[in-house]
Subunit: 343 residues, 2 copies
Amino acid sequence: MADTPTPAVTISAIAEEAGVSAPTVSRVLNGRGDVAPATRERIESLLRARGYRRRGSRGGEMVGLLDLVFNDLDSPWAVEIIRGVEDAAHAVGSGIVVSAIHRRASSTRQWLQNVRSRTSDGAVLVTTDLDSSLRAELEDLHMPSVVIDPVGVPDLAVPTIGATNWAGGLSATDYLISLGHRRIAFVAGRPELWCSRARLDGYRAGLETAGLDVDDDLVVPGEFDYESGFRAGEHLFGLAEPPTAVFSASDQMTLGVYEALRRRGLRVPADVSVIGFDDLPEARWASPPLTTVRQPLAEMGRLAVRTVHRLVGGESIESPRVELATELVVRDSTAAVPGAPAR
Amino acid sequence: MADTPTPAVTISAIAEEAGVSAPTVSRVLNGRGDVAPATRERIESLLRARGYRRRGSRGGEMVGLLDLVFNDLDSPWAVEIIRGVEDAAHAVGSGIVVSAIHRRASSTRQWLQNVRSRTSDGAVLVTTDLDSSLRAELEDLHMPSVVIDPVGVPDLAVPTIGATNWAGGLSATDYLISLGHRRIAFVAGRPELWCSRARLDGYRAGLETAGLDVDDDLVVPGEFDYESGFRAGEHLFGLAEPPTAVFSASDQMTLGVYEALRRRGLRVPADVSVIGFDDLPEARWASPPLTTVRQPLAEMGRLAVRTVHRLVGGESIESPRVELATELVVRDSTAAVPGAPAR
DNA sequence: CTGAAAGCGCTTACAG
DNA sequence: CTGAAAGCGCTTACAG
């Protein structure tokens, strides 16, 4: 996607290639109705193929705009990323255009049209699942772009930025073990995403390294959201032999676990220790404040901007994927395993 | 700020007025060094006064970009507003450029420069305190703009959108009274902001209407953030005669109150009822889920976009300020006052 | 439906 | 330091 600065794609270049005059191409671009369907077709595909972008009078100059694209904006990490991206973009004098691909088919077209016409210098995509047709359309825009991917899709042709999910899973589990816990449950994330798998594997590795068996009853599915965390908590503490600690693959699920525990009259951390993943602001404000594995989302955003910027400047990127370190943040939701008192 | 579409401010118009040639103005605009200081000065002030904006070849056409400006992005309502603004902007085919005025003097200049050069069609400002010099500079940009103001500064020359803070304060208090509470504390917000005053007055009105005295010991200062809420909670429940209910002027402070109560071993809502203000996502995920006064932030964002759009189109706005209704959202942090048992 | 011509807003050498 | 001239990318009547 990071094509080297090719000889300016202008309207007249396209016109020549299509065997028409410049005004005709202009008409197509501006959606005027009076163009023969066949001609329009030919010109449109050429426009796409060559990655035509409006540039006004001043040549190939940068326009000082970066697109920041989310699948949708409800994700609780959205702001964290926006903050990092805004910060880094500001530092290089760029503005960021944030948008969400609202997943109605019709508006995707409209959205692409908008992106195309604002001709920003590059794009940062934040997305757990870009479907492949959309991906192709994005390529047609010929914008240098990088994907921030807190959840890990390591198979793109585009540079990707993630976090060390496996190591995060390991460190949380290690910590719980160091506190004396032996029955440690894991609430997993959306199973189709790589990061879920990596966090789970980190958890398993932690147990195995300590010589503990992985008890499949203590590994419960989740969807990353509050509700599934709540259900997981209900299930786990309905068990004949409940865990003494719960590690969940997202902070949101952990908040659901809190609520399940509260309803059963169990206390964090006196009765049960709990660890989350992400370190969203809500982790700090939970009661008790939540021990969690921090994902450096803002930093990932900053790196993404620096990376697109290098692509815009024609540099090539050495590694197609880089993962930033996660870090265990210990707060008040974890404690040594309760002595041995029957609960 | 909403000037009617005047006869195109072009480089040559400015040149003529300044008594120089167009290339000279162009040089000033592009920050070339080779312009006499006096000339540059004259041209710059003319540029500002006329509200010059780069437009490329296609005339006064709209560019499909709206600036969305925050003081900074840590405010927990930022995303809510972004979501509403993005949604409405998307609907009219605009992109939104999100930025934060990082409050270092130097970068404000830089930021204004960026805003000027991207020539968006209008601006939505979200801000609790714009200092007046910045306000003046913003006016120089000659962009139609509206202020979203969850905290209420009703003295601007710009259309403002807020929420019914007083009514919200009243409804929360009423509800607590209806539950049988008589000792109801209020944790106030930043005292210099109008909204804080309005919420406090709503609380007072609620008590007075019910024939209850306002006990000044139960009105404690806060700053809207978690920490001040925590301190307020510590204070309130260190009192000889603590309240049976606490209403705070923000959800964040309420989460601080939760933590203060938890540390004292008091339960929500069995021992103490608690109400917040804002209805941020964290309210739903608190444990127990928080009863709170909802501020329709996304809706305020949508309305802001519709309003700038009308200004861009040259329409005039009937009311300089509109307040959207707040709404009490009852969840699990409130209950009838505990019978009479000594605690 | 399409092109030749004129025009617009801006910028870039070039000369002084 | 500044302007006259040429040029660039694009669009707008106008004619056919």
